[in-house]
Amino acid sequence: MASFRRARRSVASFAFTGFCWVVTGIALAALALILWSLLVKGIGGIDQNTFTMDTPAAGSVGGLRNAIVGSVIMCALAMVIAVIIGILAGTWLAEFGRNSLYANIIRFLNDILLSAPSVLVGLFVYEFMVAPFHGFSAIAGSVALALIAVPIITRTTEDVLKLQPVALRESGVALGTPHWTAIRKILWRSASSGILTGGLLAFARISGETAPLLFTSLNEQFLNFNLTKEMSSLPVVIFNDALSAYDDLVRLAWAGALIIAVAVLGTNVLARIITRERRPS
C-alpha cells in the first residue's frame, strides 16, 4: 500500500515536471515563431527606399521616412514631458509624501494608470486637446504618449530613491546643503542609473504604442516638422497599411513592425545592461 502511494506521488510529480518542460517549450517556440516571421517578412520589406522616401499612395514606390521621423519627434517630446513630471512626482512620493494619505492615493492612481488601457488615454487626449481646438496635432500625440510614460518613470524613480541609504540624505544635511540641493546633487545622482533605466523602459513602451496616436496625431502622407499639424508615426502607418489590400503596403507594414521591434528590444536590452552594472545579480 505504502509503495503504491509512493509510486503515485512520484508519477504525479513526474507528470507535473514534464508538463512544465513541455509548456515552456511550447511557449518559447510560439514566441520564437512570431519573431522569426517578423524577421523574415520585415527584412524582405526593407530596402534603401524605406529610409529615404515618404509613405506612398497605394501602387507607387515609397518608404517610411516621414513615419520614422514622426515617431522619433513625438516620442522625444513625450519623453521630455514625462521625464520632468515623472522624476518630480517620484521624488515627491519618496521624499515628501511618504506614507501620508495623499501620497498613498497618488501611488494607487499611478498603479492604475500604469496598466490602464492605452486606447482610453487616446480618447481622453482627443476630448481634452483635439476636440476643443478642432485639430489633430503632433503635440496631442506627444501628450498622450507622455501620459503613458509618466507612471512608469514615477514608479521607478520612487523605487530607486527609496533604495538610497538614509545616511546619504543625512550627509547632505550635515554639510549644510538645502534639502532640494541635497536631492538634486546627491540623491538624484546616486540614483541616476536606476532613473535612466526607468526612462528607457518608458521609452520602449511608448515607441510601440498605436492606440493613443490614432485619434491624436492621426497620420500625414508627407514629412512634416510642424508640431501643431498631423504627424505620421510608425505604429499608425503599420496599422493603416496592414489592413489595406495592397501587397506593397503590407510589405512596408512588416518593415515598419521590424524597425519598431528592433528599437524596442534594443532599448530594453540597454536598460538591462545598465541595471546589471548597478547591482550585479
Partner: protein
C-alpha cells in the same frame, strides 16, 4: 568647546534654503498631475459618453443593435466580446504561464535559467501591434486552413460541435483573437509569476524537500499558499492587460457588432471598436456612443486593476 543646542538652531540657514518649500510644491504639483490625469479621464469619458448613455439608457448594455446610419447604438456586442475574449485568453495563457514560471524557478538547468528568464521578460515588452500583424498574416490563415476547415467539415450538422463552430472559416474570429491575446499576455504573466515565486524563502522550499515532498507537493503546498494573494493579483493584472488590449485584437477579431454565437464567429471588443470606428464617426451621437463604450471599458478595467493592486499590496512586482 561644546556645541550648545542654541548654537545649532541659531546657525544661519544655508544659502538657497528659501527655495526648499518651492521645490517641494513643484514636486507635489507634479504628483498631482497624476491625480488630475486620472480624474480627467473619468470625467471627460463620462461627459463625452453622456449623450449616448442618457439617450439609450439601459438598452445601451442590452442591445446589440449598432447602426451608425439610423443612429441607434447598443453596445452589448463589444462589451460581451471584450469579456469573452479576455477570459478565454486568460484561460489559455494561465496554465502555460504558470508552467513556465514554475519551470524557471524549480526545474530549469542553471545554464538556461538566465537566458530563458531574460527572453521571457524581453518578449513581455514587444509592442502589441507586432502580435497583431503576426495574428493577421500568419496565424489566421494557418488556423483557417488547418483547424477551422477540418473541424467544421468533421462536425455533424446540428450537433453541438457544429453549433460551436459555425462561422466563416477565414481565421478572423473570437477564438483566434483570444489565442493571439493569450500569446501576448503570456510573457507578461510568466514574468510576474516568476518574480512572485522567487519571493518564497529558499529555506521553506528546501525544508519541504527535506521532508520528502515531491516537486509537485512543494509547489502546491508551499510555494502556492505562500504567494496565493499576490498570485491572484498577478493574474488580475494579466486580465487587465487583455481587457484593454487594442491592436492585437483589432487585426483579427473580424469586427462585427453582433453577439458571437460560436467560437468561429467574428465579434468585436470595446477597444477594437473604438480603434476602428472613432475616426469615421461623423455624427456627435456616434462619437458619443464610442466614448460611452470607452467609459464602460474604463470602469471594467479600473475595477480589475484596483482588485489586483489591493491583492498585490505594497509588493513591487510590476
Amino acid at each position: 568647546m561644546s556645541v550648545t543646542h542654541q548654537a545649532i538652531t541659531d546657525r544661519p540657514r544655508p544659502r538657497g534654503a528659501a527655495f526648499d518649500p518651492i521645490f517641494k510644491w513643484i514636486c507635489a504639483a507634479a504628483a498631482t498631475t497624476l491625480l488630475a490625469a486620472l480624474t480627467g479621464i473619468v470625467v471627460l469619458l463620462a461627459v463625452g459618453g453622456w449623450p449616448a448613455l442618457s439617450k439609450f439608457g439601459f438598452s445601451f448594455f442590452t442591445s446589440t443593435d449598432w447602426n451608425p446610419v439610423t443612429e441607434v447604438f447598443g453596445g452589448e456586442g463589444p462589451i460581451v466580446g471584450t469579456l469573452v475574449t479576455s477570459f478565454m485568453a486568460l484561460l489559455f495563457s494561465l496554465p502555460i504561464a504558470f508552467g513556465v514560471a514554475v519551470f524557471l524557478v524549480e526545474f530549469c538547468p542553471n545554464v538556461l535559467r538566465r537566458p530563458i528568464g531574460v527572453a521571457v521578460e524581453l518578449l513581455a515588452g514587444v509592442p502589441s501591434i507586432v502580435y497583431g500583424m503576426w495574428g493577421l498574416f500568419v496565424f489566421a490563415p494557418f488556423f483557417a486552413a488547418n483547424v477551422e476547415v477540418p473541424v467544421m467539415s468533421a462536425a455533424k450538422p446540428g450537433s453541438l460541435l457544429d453549433q460551436l463552430t459555425q462561422g466563416v472559416p477565414n481565421g478572423a474570429n473570437i477564438l483566434t483573437a483570444s489565442i493571439v491575446l493569450a500569446i501576448m499576455i503570456l510573457p507578461y504573466m510568466a514574468a510576474v509569476l516568476r518574480e512572485l515565486f522567487l519571493t518564497v524563502p529558499v529555506q521553506l522550499r528546501e525544508s519541504g524537500y527535506g521532508m520528502g515532498s515531491t516537486s509537485l507537493e512543494v509547489i502546491t503546498s508551499i510555494t502556492l499558499p505562500y504567494v496565493r494573494r499576490s498570485a491572484i493579483g498577478a493574474v488580475m493584472l494579466g486580465l487587465g492587460r487583455a481587457l484593454g488590449e487594442t491592436m492585437a485584437v483589432t487585426f483579427i477579431i473580424g469586427n462585427s457588432h453582433t453577439l458571437p454565437k460560436s467560437f468561429f464567429d467574428s465579434g468585436s471588443t470595446i477597444a477594437s471598436t473604438i480603434a476602428n470606428e472613432f475616426n469615421e464617426a461623423t455624427t456627435p451621437m456616434y462619437t458619443s456612443a464610442l466614448i460611452a463604450l470607452g467609459f464602460v471599458l474604463f470602469l471594467i478595467s479600473f475595477a480589475v486593476l484596483a482588485i489586483a493592486r489591493a491583492l498585490l499590496g505594497a509588493e513591487k512586482t510590476a
